[in-house]
């Protein structure tokens, strides 16, 4: 195998793909990166058997082949100066000759045949969603997943395909986030609900990057999910188990509803949380027809009371929250105005962007009982 590749392309691709490589591998080859030539250039693959990432990048291929580079490759390439790097693999003794300018680096690797093959989606049902929407879905739900490994389903994000939309749901038991986006769903295929580790979705978001749009194909096999874009693929194992009945958590009616400026509410909560900064301390909301008072007090520290304008319907209400949970929700509403619905001082509340926009984000948080 012989190829030439731009240092900056290879360095950034390696950085992404190596996130899937095993940090403490059971077999050493799992810490490496599989490099193969293809018609599109080079493909890089890394996997720890839970998550796999494959990227394609442009390269000048002189001779086809495949080789597994050790995890070190990323460090080496990062230190090579900007410019073109030539690779020449000697498969007979599994060494790679890396040369640039007047320098040369020889490293030992593994034979490609020993690398576990990345599963293929085959004919598994698939749908398509835009990169922009997928990024948002991940961002708006991933934060609400739990870190508690003792209840695996809570560490994942539920993917539901329904009514022409792709829905992501995550909860840690304390709050629940739901986001939806339009998707291109083949009418002749059925999709079951699957739970994807939130860690894997974070890798998907990384691989997709901050910019660029285009379709992402999501395929669901029996025990894996595949995210495929033009040059990237992320594969991960699904979490087995029953996701909690999330629809029951989302209130269907309200006794009080308010609309307000999202940023005003968020800033007031963030300031109040400086007083109620310890876990278990509450921020209180007092809602009347036109105003909402946000307050917190801690005897040894001081107290804060802020008033913002709201438009509210229904009964006046006093309610207390863990400020962190409210802030998490508000930070995920990019719309200028938000809507907040309450079903009582001790029952679920639900926030969303006020413009609705097909109800693309719904966040349920339960209040605290204080005093």
């Amino acid at each position: 195998m012989k190829f030439k590749v731009a240092q900056e392309n290879l360095a950034s691709s390696l950085q992404l793909v190596q996130r899937a490589a095993a940090a403490r591998p059971t077999i050493p080859i799992l810490s490496g990166v599989l490099v193969e030539t293809s018609s599109n250039g080079l493909t890089l693959t890394a996997t720890d058997n839970e998550i796999g990432i494959r990227l394609t990048l442009p390269a000048m291929i002189a001779e086809d082949g495949a080789f597994v580079f050790p995890g070190r490759l990323g460090d080496i390439v990062r230190k090579i100066p900007f410019g073109e790097i030539a690779f020449e693999i000697d498969n007979s003794n599994n060494t790679a000759n890396i040369s640039w300018g007047r320098s040369r680096f020889v490293i030992h690797g593994y034979s490609a045949g020993e690398f576990p093959s990345l599963p293929e989606p085959g004919s598994a049902p698939a749908l398509a969603v835009s990169k922009t929407d997928l990024r948002r879905l991940i961002r708006q739900t991933g934060f609400a997943a739990s870190h508690d490994d003792s209840r695996p389903v809570f560490t994942g994000v539920l993917l539901v395909v329904a009514e022409g939309k792709l829905r992501f749901v995550a909860t840690d038991g304390f709050r629940l986030a739901l986001a939806e986006a339009p998707a291109d769903i083949p009418a002749d295929q059925t999709f079951r609900d699957v739970i994807i580790p939130s860690r894997a979705l974070a890798e998907v978001a990384h691989v997709l990057g901050e910019e660029g749009d285009g379709p992402v194909r999501i395929a669901f096999s029996d025990n894996r999910v595949f995210f495929e874009a033009s040059h990237e693929r992320v594969v991960c194992r699904l979490i087995e188990g029953q996701f909690p009945p999330y629809k029951q958590v989302i209130p269907q009616s309200f006794v009080t509803r308010l609309g307000c400026n999202t940023q005003d509410f968020l800033s007031a909560c963030e300031r109040a949380s400086l007083i109620a900064h310890e876990v278990g301390q509450a921020v209180k909301l007092e809602i009347s027809a036109t105003t909402m008072v946000i307050s917190a007090s801690k005897p040894e520290l001081g107290n804060v009371r802020e008033e913002i304008s709201v438009e509210s319907q229904g009964d006046p209400l006093e309610i207390a929250f863990n400020p962190r949970y409210v802030i998490d929700g508000l930070r995920n509403i990019s719309a200028e105005r938000m809507a907040y619905e309450f079903t009582g001082p001790l029952s679920p509340t639900c926030m969303s962007p006020e413009d609705g926009k097909e109800n693309s984000f719904t966040y349920v948080v339960l209040p605290m009982r204080v005093g």
């Binding site: 629940l176 278990g280 962190r324 948080v365």
Partner: protein
């Protein structure tokens, strides 16, 4: 002289008969104790073949004249008691008058003694219980006892002896224990002509510890000095880093008499609770100074069992002294507990024997009457803690620098660089929040703040746990849980204490019930009483007086506390999680507000400090 008399029949009757000479180590113990009782300043112990062929104990004590030397081999002959009344007030090691006759019965003993001012000594032989008439001996002040051919006339006993190495180890332990009891006496142990160890007899316990266990060990102990009423507790306690798995290096003395450390097991376990990893036992060398009359030493011939007139008082004194010492110690470094500093304070204070020590101990004739005696009463650690354990307080200027390996937080303060284990730190924070939430126990009507759950947590009860749950339901509700039966053995948790926001609580409840079930639930006498005691200890006076009504509550509360320790670990942030700067700073702030920021509830350290001095040293910029 006539100082030795045969005990009268009543006294002899009050003394339980017992086997005094079990093995070479017991011979050494008896002879060294005799030497100490004779006021020796220097005692040399020599062994040959693990004590089988020869045990020699030489001292520079008061010595004896011919009649006393002869009488010393009579049973219940002792210089230390003259009547039964004296037994209530024993201030010497030996007093039964059993040692020499018992040894003489099973070995070939030669005793040479001489009074200090006498021009001639005396020599007595005893073989298989037959005592020779005294004859003139060398004029060497003090007493030397040679015990040859131990068990020469009892083959079964001789066979029962272990290898020479094992017997030497036992002798070393016994003699070492006494050396720690009396750091003012120079004690040495020689085996096969080789010096095993030798304490300097400087009066400093630290010096004795260095001699026996090495300077490295001595750097890992802190001074203990506390007083509760008539009980004074002094000595050294090991830092968590030197806690052991084998239960060794625990030395407890009562008025410098070695006693079984297990007697105060509750106190040291409580003091070190949450500081040690599971299965480890703390290391300590403690002396309890109290009026001889308030402790009964005559329970067992080995005299390691004693009975305190007021055990509770001794327990509390020990607990509070240990807590105070650990509280001001530099637990994670121990570098401040430097041996040289400790030695200076100790020897400086040697002459400053508190007056009450003499009152308490001064029986005149006995060993305790001497000036050098208060073994480590010479100890002014309370006045200058920084010279010993070192004052350490959470640095107010701690500034977060960054995260390493998604596991450790690095921060700096004026006194050095800090590395914090984020998982351990979080455990400590969660634990204290729970304890604070549970402290609202006193008012049964008060409810703690609750966080309602979006998705109820289901807990599957193990068979038989329904009962356990039933009993603890009221308690769980008051702490802030909202539970609901959900058919079968499933329980729904609908709300959790607000302090547990973000913490997975299913495992906590399961652990709690599991533990409660395993302990048999509130009810059984002794265990319940123990829990009540612990409860009273914890919450102070308001609980102490009403054991009846609150009994079961206190018991389950204590168990809950234990369960929480376990749960805190599970509940906590796992290592390997990225933290935002704000989160890391919040965690550090929370940790700083806890009562014991230096260890997690399981006793692992939460933080490591690399002091400025150490940095300077490491880079060759130090003052030496």
């Amino acid at each position: 002289m006539g100082r030795i008399v045969v005990l009268d029949a009543i006294t002899a009757g009050r003394i339980a008969a017992g086997e005094v000479v079990e093995r070479p180590a017991s011979v050494v113990k008896e002879l060294v104790e005799n030497a100490l009782d004779a006021g020796a300043r220097r005692i040399e112990v020599e062994l040959e073949d693990g004590g089988r062929t020869l045990i020699k104990v030489a001292d520079d004590g008061e010595g004896m004249d011919a009649p006393d030397a002869r009488l010393a081999f009579e049973r219940h002959a002792t210089s230390k008691l003259t009547s039964a009344e004296d037994l209530d007030d024993v201030g010497t090691y030996g007093f039964r008058g059993e040692a020499l006759p018992s040894i003489g019965a099973v070995a070939r003993v030669r005793l040479v003694s001489c009074l200090p001012e006498a021009g001639e000594g005396v020599e007595v032989l005893c073989e298989g219980g037959l005592v020779s008439e005294p004859r003139p001996g060398p004029a060497r002040p003090g007493t030397v006892v040679w015990v040859r051919d131990l068990y020469f006339n009892t083959p079964a006993r001789r066979q029962a002896m272990r290898s020479a190495a094992a017997e030497v180890a036992r002798v070393s332990e016994v003699a070492g224990t006494l050396a720690l009891a009396v750091p003012g006496v120079a004690l040495s142990l020689v085996s096969e002509g080789k010096l095993l160890w030798s304490t300097p007899g400087s009066g400093s316990l630290e010096d004795a510890v260095v001699a026996l266990f090495g300077a490295e060990f001595a750097r890992s102990v802190i001074a203990v000095d506390g007083r509760s009423g008539p009980v004074r507790v002094t000595g050294l306690a090991g830092l968590p880093a030197v806690a052991r798995r084998d239960g060794k290096r625990q030395y407890l003395f009562c008025n410098a008499r070695p006693i079984n450390p297990k007697l105060l097991r509750g106190a040291y376990e409580e003091a070190y609770r949450t500081l040690l990893q599971a299965g480890r036992t703390p290391v300590f060398i403690l002396n309890l100074s109290l009026e001889p009359a308030s402790v009964d030493v005559n329970i067992h011939p080995a005299k390691t069992q004693v009975r305190f007139r007021d055990h509770g008082l001794v327990y509390r004194a020990t607990l509070s002294a240990l807590r105070a010492a650990l509280g001001r110690a530099d637990l994670f470094g121990g570098r401040l507990a430097g041996y040289p500093a400790a030695r200076e304070t100790a020897s400086a204070a040697e002459t400053a024997v508190p007056a009450d020590w003499r009152d308490v101990l001064g029986r005149g004739a006995g060993w305790f009457g001497r000036e050098t005696l208060p073994p480590y009463a010479a100890d002014d650690a309370s006045e200058s803690p920084e010279s010993r354990g070192g004052d350490w307080a959470w640095p107010r200027d701690l500034a977060y620098l960054g995260q390493v390996g998604r596991t450790f937080l690095v921060a700096r303060a004026a006194d050095g660089l800090y590395v914090i284990d984020q998982h351990a730190a979080h455990e400590r924070v969660v634990l204290e929040r729970l304890v604070a939430a549970g402290a609202g126990e006193v008012d049964p009507e008060a409810r703690t703040d609750q966080q309602l759950l979006a998705v109820p947590v289901t807990v599957e009860l193990a068979p038989g746990e329904e009962d356990v749950l039933e009993r603890s339901l009221a308690f769980l509700r008051r702490v802030g849980f909202e539970l609901e039966a959900f058919g079968g053995r499933t329980v729904l948790i609908r709300a959790v204490p607000a302090v547990l926001s973000g913490v997975p609580v299913g495992g906590l409840i399961a652990d709690f019930l599991d533990r409660l079930g395993a302990e048999g639930g509130p009810g059984t006498g002794a265990e319940r009483a123990g829990a009540e005691r612990a409860g009273a200890e914890e919450t102070g006076a308001e609980n102490a007086g009403v054991p009846g009504a609150r009994g079961s509550l206190a018991a389950s509360f204590d168990r809950f506390r234990a369960a929480r320790v376990m749960a805190a670990c599970q509940a906590s942030l796992k290592a390997g999680q990225g933290l935002s700067e704000a989160e890391a700073e919040a965690l550090l702030g929370d940790l700083g507000r806890t009562s014991e920021p230096r260890t997690c509830p399981h006793g692992r350290p939460t933080l490591l400090r690399i002091g400025l001095d150490e940095l300077e040293r490491s880079f060759g910029r130090g003052r030496g």
